[in-house]
């Protein structure tokens, strides 16, 4: 059982950890975890069923979740609290046969001055037969406006038969530039659910790209993307669902634009089999006037009504 002694955690990092992990520090430290901070390690702990090792060929971790592990959570957050850092990390997650676990990752950048700060996390998920996993990923940027904060996550998913992966991904402001790439390959009866929510404001730019190959019979993907682009921000969405056999694919891209925000959605469906059922839905527009009116008749101000609508939409 590997363990790296925990170093002191400063207040900025604590605050970031709380937000990106959606948990208090005590919960985070109670099971398996690895805290990455400014390209170093602030602490690591295995549990009986979840083993975290350093990668031998580069920066990053190999996380082994034993077959049959049920109900455990593993936290793998990354924080950057100084500027001028260009962090690159490769994390591989092996979820054993029949396991059912929650993986909480995410990245927070809090800088107060100076040079750009960038985190590039490359996460690969290998789900064995019948494995179930929920992967929660939250990205946030805080601190000085003049520092460019960049988060470029890459997620690669390999799902064996009857496995189930749910990716719950949130980026709620403060990240100046992001390119999020997700690729997945699914075997028979495997299911992938992706829920992505992105809020951009000011001059921020968020690009997101999905490519899902449905290779096994009765495999399925449900891809739900919700975006809110405010200020002068830009969001670009690309998805490509490839059905190579009898399979089911559904993608849904909803965008709210406010002020001078822009959303560019390019969904693509490729059916290489006559039994592939692929559906795409997309809707982009400003907040419906009748929604604001309804909430105003309940006593909310126009600003509070807009906030409630956007908060709900991105939840």
């Amino acid at each position: 059982m590997s363990q790296i002694e925990r170093k002191p955690i400063d207040d900025d990092t604590k605050e970031l950890l709380k937000v990106v992990s959606d948990a208090d520090i005590e919960e985070l430290l109670s099971g398996a975890f690895n805290i990455r901070s400014n390209s170093g390690c602030l602490g690591r702990q295995d549990s009986e069923n979840i083993i975290i090792d350093s990668k031998e060929d580069g920066p990053g971790l190999v996380i082994h979740i034993k077959p049959g592990t049920k109900g455990e959570k593993v936290f793998i957050p990354a924080c950057i609290t100084v500027s001028g850092i260009d962090d690159l990390v490769y994390n591989d997650f092996y979820v054993g046969e029949g396991a059912d676990v929650t993986i909480v990752a995410g990245c927070g950048i809090h800088t107060t001055t100076g040079e750009p700060a960038r985190h590039n996390g490359i996460h690969r998920f290998f789900l064995a037969k019948g494995a179930h996993a929920l992967y929660e990923e939250k990205h946030i940027g805080t601190g000085a406006d003049e520092t460019t904060k960049i988060i470029d996550p890459v997620t690669e998913v390999f799902q064996e038969e009857d496995s189930y992966l749910e990716i719950d991904s949130v980026q709620l402001g403060g990240v100046d530039k992001t390119l999020r790439q997700t690729k997945a390959k699914l075997d028979a009866r495997a299911t992938l659910v992706i829920r992505e929510r992105i809020l951009t404001d000011g001059e921020e730019e968020a690009r997101t790209e999905f490519e899902v190959e449905l290779n096994g019979e009765d495999s399925g993907v449900n891809l739900i993307s919700r975006s809110v682009a405010k200020g002068n921000s830009l969001q670009a969405y690309q998805s490509n669902i490839i059905g190579n056999t009898k399979c089911y694919g559904h993608s849904e891209c909803d965008g709210i634009i406010a002020e001078h925000g822009r959303v560019d959605a390019s969904p693509k469906l490729v059916a290489n089999s006559e039994d592939a059922q692929l559906i795409h839905e997309a809707a982009i527009g400003k907040i419906a006037g009748e929604q604001i009116l309804k909430l105003r008749t309940l006593g909310l101000s126009e600003e509070d009504a807009e906030k409630a609508i956007i908060d709900g939409f991105l939840r």
Binding site: R226, D254, A288, E290, Q291, L293, K294, L295, R296, T297, L298, G299, L300, S301, E302, A308, I309, D311, G312, F313, L314, R315
Partner: protein
Amino acid sequence: MLEIKNLYFQPKGERQILDDISLTIPDGKLICLTGPNGGGKTTIAKMIAGVEVPSSGAILLDGEDITDKDPTERARLGISYAFQQPVRFKGITVRELLCLAKGEVATEDELNEVMAQVGMDGAEYLGREVDTHLSGGEMKRIEIASVLMRKSKLIVFDEPEAGIDLWSFNSLIRVFEELRDSRKCSLIIISHQERILSIADEIVMIQEGSVGLHGPRSIMYPLICKTDCEDCDDCFIKNKGGEN
């Protein structure tokens, strides 16, 4: 008390929708607005809630001129409005909508009680989103529940019966009576439904943007709820349905 004085409404380039409407709604009374579709009933409801602005005329609440007040200000003065066509919200749950309506976090008991009043099971519905997965009838009942969560002086219900089953409807009738009799709330209900007309204190018939007939239920009800008038051209009860 709500006073509507000489209300006119004619959107630019369109026909006149309201033509000199004057009405007084006393405290603790239930007034039914009825009449043919397209007659202007929903427009009057929107004018009271501040969702539409009249071309001329005035609306007074307890003597205060609220004609220039916006929907938020009117809601805060105690005016509530249940839309004829409920609005859907992606991501907002029934629980959240009801708490927004209350203006603060509501207890589970309060939420379950209001859901029961509209004939719904809180355990089944409170966590669901107010989106396209709910049927028209479910949306209608949640719309009414959202209004019941508020502390109101005056509530406008626009065709509350639409899409509601008989069992829930009976419960709703009791809710209307309780609002009027115990909470001393003024109610304006737009309806074609005989059962609602039968509990009204006053019935107002709105036709072609004007007040046609107006009087106490005892006089109005027998006039308009004749059972043998199927072929009568003047009967509006047969013209059921909504206006936009």
